[in-house]
Structures are given as structure tokens and as C-alpha cells.
Symmetry: C2
């Protein structure tokens, strides 16, 4: 086996590069990038975001137990990266990156208007794991931009050109390979005789 | 805001479409697909996989508390999808999909030889969340295929053409957008006068 054995590390990829928004009780809000995020349960729909204790967002998450996962796009790549390396202690990152905070149904945490999908979450549990605290949450509402609905009324996230994070690098989404279940779909076997609908 | 408000749902994407391998104590092993997976802590490196109780792998995970996250590629798309829709109760999915089980350092759970990256994990906690149980684990070792190392000896996962899962659809990885931190990198400002290294 031509594989190298490495020490333990973070190698699960591709991941979503999302912008997480939250606020404190006074109404001050912040936005940060996270790739340590994902779905942990289908029903009820539950997600998580893992955040270092020294992040400016951390005390807001602890205080109001709310956050919004804002999906990102190739067009938002610059903003997504920037809010991941700069701190809200030093600036209003919304203003800096021309992001628009809008309130959905949560009490404190705003959504990002420019995001194609905003997922409102309420924290149910915090796990202290080491470098990161994991904020486990239930999804309360999902807001999705109408411009990515297809002709059949289905939401087509690929149209938004979502951003992926792969081992320190940002990528767009590439070629479509198939839909879930494609490997077992029965191929239509062409019948040798065509039914003409007429009696012989 | 031209956004539709939806009921709670699973909308965090793109996600990795991984193959999870595990075994029972008798040595019978299985492989299943998971997109409800990701990194939850950097140090120690910790990951999770969420699995429905009725999945054939579930009792193996409970019994041996081990699993391997095997990353997938465009070339493995057919196998990845197939092991997600068929059950190990009915067949040996390794054999069916021409996947090769190889042992790494874990006691029970095999890795998939054909996978570019295999992440060996030991379960530390199981959270019962609803439809899914979340298997929180520490990463013990990472095995990475040497053929994806670049000239500088860095592992380049993109070369393996990793598979992404986006809202019911499989995609490849697309164009490279930048590396983490690209938004704040200083551009080299060309100096007007070239230093020639000679005295005037």
C-alpha cells in the first residue's frame, strides 16, 4: 500500500466555508468564517459550529446561544476569507466587506443578505473538546434566495457557485457527477419491438 | 430581501461524501457512505460521523467504537453512492464494488485501499440526537496516498479529485480560488527605481 502514515490531523475534506453570524445581548454583532461545521442530525435538523475560545464571536455565542450559518459563494470568497483572518474586536467586518446584516426570526443573531442560504440556529449544547468548543444547535429556519430556484421550483444550490474548503485552499464546485442513488438506477432497456398501438 | 423562509432542514453544503468503514468483534466488516461528517476540533484532532440506528454499521460502531473515514474521489463516485444505498446485511459491499479492505493500526476497522486518505478514529462519545446518533471520535492516524504529494513534498488533495455532496447531488471540485488568508496578503509593490547593485 503506497500510503504514508501520518500523525493525527484534520483531513476530512471538502468542507463548506461558511460565514457564521452572531450577536451579544447589547446588539453588537460579528461575523466569522468556519469550516468546522456540518449537519449532525436530519430529524430534528441539527448542526454544529466549532469555535476557539479566543475568538471574538465565542462570548456572543455563549451569551445569546444563537447563530446563523450563512453559506458562501465564489463571489463571496474575498469576504469569506477576510472575516476568517481578521477579528471583530478591531473593526466592523460587515462594513469592511460590504456585507448587509438583516434580521430573520432570531432575537439577536443577524443573517447576511448577500448569502444564498442562511440557516438560523439555536444552541442546545456546548462541548468543550480542546482547542475548540463545539456549539451543537437545532435549525430553526432556513432562508434561501429565490434567484436559485429552478424552473420546477426546486432550489439549485449549485447555481449559487458554493465555496468549498479543501486543506487550506478555497475551491469552487466542479462538474456534476450524479444524484444520490444514481449507482442503482435502472437503465431503461429499449424494447426490440416498438408497440405501435395497432392490432396485428 | 428576496429570500424564501423555509422550515428547518439540512442545508449546510458542500459536504464531503466519505466512505465509513467499521467492523464487529468477530471480524465482519462493512462500509457505508456519510455526508454528516466533519472536523469538530483541531487539537486534539476530532471528527464525527452521524449514523441512523437502523444502519447495519450502527451496531458495529457501538460494539468496537472504531471507524475509518475514507475520503472519496470522482473515480470512486459509483462505489461511494452504491455503499450509501445498499445494506451490508444483504451483501459484501467491498466485494461488490471492488474495494480492498486493508488493516492499518486499529484493532477491528479496516481502511479502503483505493481511498486517497484514510482517517482512523476511536469513538469517545455517542450523542443520541434524534434520527441520527453522533459518533464523536479522536483521530488516531491518517494514511495518505503518496501519489498526491507535490514536488515540494506537500500533500495536494485536489489532485485526487475529491468528491463533494451538495443537496442530494455529487460534484467534483472546481476552480482554485485562493489559499486561506489570500484576502489580506500584501501585494508586492514594484519599486520605481531598480537597484542595480552598483554605486552611482
Amino acid at each position: 500500500m503506497a500510503k504514508q502514515q501520518w500523525k493525527p490531523g484534520n483531513m476530512v475534506y471538502p468542507l463548506p466555508a461558511v460565514m457564521v453570524t452572531c450577536a451579544d445581548k447589547s446588539g453588537r454583532y460579528n461575523v466569522m468564517t468556519a469550516a468546522w461545521t456540518g449537519t449532525i442530525c436530519s430529524d430534528p435538523p441539527m448542526v454544529y459550529v466549532s469555535v476557539r475560545k479566543n475568538r471574538f464571536s465565542h462570548h456572543m455565542l455563549m451569551e445569546t446561544k444563537e447563530y446563523v450559518i450563512n453559506l458562501t459563494t465564489e463571489a463571496l470568497a474575498q469576504a469569506t476569507d477576510f472575516v476568517g483572518v481578521r477579528s471583530g474586536r478591531d473593526m466592523d467586518k460587515f462594513e469592511e466587506m460590504h456585507l448587509t446584516p438583516v434580521m430573520g426570526t432570531l432575537k439577536y443573531a443577524p443573517m447576511i443578505k448577500e448569502s444564498p442560504v442562511c440557516i438560523e440556529c439555536v444552541v442546545t449544547q456546548v462541548l468543550e473538546l480542546g482547542s475548540h468548543d463545539m456549539f451543537i444547535a437545532e435549525v430553526r429556519h432556513v432562508f434561501a434566495d429565490e434567484k436559485y430556484m429552478d424552473a420546477a421550483g426546486r432550489f439549485d444550490l449549485a447555481k449559487a457557485k458554493p465555496l468549498a474548503y479543501v486543506h487550506g485552499q478555497y475551491y469552487g464546485i466542479g462538474r456534476h457527477i450524479g444524484r444520490f442513488g444514481f449507482s442503482v438506477q435502472k437503465k431503461k432497456i429499449p424494447s426490440k419491438k416498438k408497440h405501435t398501438g395497432r392490432k396485428k
